[in-house]
């Protein structure tokens, strides 16, 4: 597999995060190169979700900085992250449950909307045309994820596997540079996992999107990732290509060791 990567698009330096006295992350540094699929793995409670929430600005680390395409962020927020082209999915699916699939995806295009409140309220020509253009883009995402048949269904009524797919769709509708996936395969059956893997690889391949994903399950991740960071108890214990990580004794003991 010959794959070309660009420079580091996202660089995390010495990030430490604590909740009260509990240390969630201790001095973590790693980078993500443009166009790669970067996985963060680790056993339960290793700090994977905290790591993702730091990148996305949900948590503010006490120490460390995030460098996103050369720009330094010490106080990231979810809004700033979204503006900077980072979109994400959620482990426990945070969709707009009362809204249809289309509306969920359209909400994902919120930052791209240029018309103002008054233009929209009066259903003014440019605002309407813009709405149609966004709608066309959303339909592309719907086709891509093969969810045409459920486009008008309220998301809350969909089965879990499809909700996961809509969650991905909403993130894609943002046309992100970096896509953060929080346990995209969690709770899925084998077939759904295969579909999800295919979508992740296609997104990366067709749109050139850089992907950072968290997974609990090592198997799938090793197959699709370019490089893997391994966390355990909030510390980085391994970093490299899948084969190296698999051979790393610290990683093996973290996953198989008696302490877990």
């Amino acid at each position: 597999m010959s794959r070309e990567f660009g420079d580091a698009i996202l660089d995390l330096r010495h990030v430490s995060l604590a909740f009260g006295g509990v240390k969630a992350l201790t001095d973590i540094s790693f980078d993500v190169r443009e166009h790669e699929i970067r996985a963060i793995i680790g056993p339960n409670g290793a700090g994977k979700s905290s790591m993702l929430n730091v990148i996305n600005g949900v948590y503010r680390p006490q120490q460390g900085e995030i460098i996103l395409r050369g720009q330094r962020f010490t106080r990231m927020s979810p809004y700033k992250a979204a503006r900077a082209g980072i979109s994400r999915t959620f482990q426990n699916i945070a969709l707009f449950k009362g809204m249809s699939v289309i509306d969920n995806l359209m909400a994902g295009r919120n930052l791209k909307i240029r018309s103002n409140l008054l233009q929209q309220a009066f259903w003014w020509g440019p605002a309407r045309r813009e709405e149609l253009a966004h709608r066309a883009k959303v339909e592309e995402v719907i086709d891509f994820l093969e969810i045409q048949h459920i486009r008008r269904t309220p998301v809350g009524r969909l089965p879990y596997g499809l909700q996961k797919r809509v969650d991905l769709g909403r993130a894609l509708a943002m046309e992100p540079n970096i896509l953060l996936l929080d346990e995209p395969m969690a709770g899925m059956n084998v077939e759904e996992k295969q579909d999800m893997c295919r979508f992740i690889l296609d997104v990366n391949d067709q749109f050139g999107t850089t992907i950072v994903l968290i997974e609990h399950d090592m198997g799938v991740v090793m197959d699709i990732s370019d490089r893997v960071v391994v966390l355990d108890y909030g510390r980085k214990i391994g970093d490299g290509i899948p084969d190296d990580v698999r051979a790393n004794p610290d990683v093996i003991s973290a996953y198989l060791g008696a302490s877990h």
Binding site: P78, S87, A94, G98, D103, A107, N110, I113, H134, R170
Partner: protein, 309 residues
Amino acid sequence: MGFFIETLIGGLMAGMLYSLVALGFVLIFKASGVFNFAQGAMVLFAALAMARFAAWIPGWLGIDSLWLANGIAFVLSGALMFVVAWLIERLVLRHLVNQDGATLLMATLGIAYVLEGIGSSIFGSDIYKIDVGMPKEPVMILEGSFEGGLLINKEDFVAALIAALLVGLLSLFFQKTATGRALRAVADDHQAAQSVGIPLNRIWVIVWCVAGLVALVAGIIWGSKLGVQFSLATVALRGLPVVILGGLTSIPGAIIGGLIIGVGEKLSEVYLGPLIGDGIEIWFAYQLALLFLLFRPQGLFGEKIIDRV
């Protein structure tokens, strides 16, 4: 039969106004999880502004036309409600993000007093009239179908029509525009809304503005009917049983809840009054709300409240 239908229609029209007040509660609760105790004060404040601007403008601008003066007063009052919404977000809500529900409730209680105080010091505390040219005389309709026809209060009819129109326009706005979609998204899930780059602060300002506009319309209708006075703020308390009945998170619930309470009040007053004594209208709504709290606390259309333990 004719009399029954008259009572029913009277109830529906009164109910439409309750719906309007309840709508203000629901909008804000959905978007920000704040139970806005200041909704009544907002109705009063908006009505005061409207009444005073309408009285002052002919003097300021030398306009004779009642319509024009009222139109300008409406726009000015609307703008004032926008400023109020913006200030509330800036000075209060922004600093209380992620606080407990009870804290936010107390904050809105404070906002209510501040609004009432500022309202009376700017606009005075007398009883004012709002005259927007509502027709006052009753009319007879359907004289062919019923013996004696149906006697309808024209003012109530116009008021109900305006309320229905406002509700219709609002739901169009919510369903069909990008901003409406963002509002619904925030109401559904704050965290997810932030992750797609919806700015919560701006949404809150918009929601409080919409609630302010609803308060203005409700204030004008109530004010034109009863006069603008401080008791107007307590009229809004009638919105409380409505939201308990309809569900705090449901816009259709607010509308249907309002109608049920309006009709229930009138029918029970007329048909139960002779049996158990008059004055049912005053407590009916609260008793109904109490029953709902006991047996169906999420209301007719609200989301079921499930707490994870």
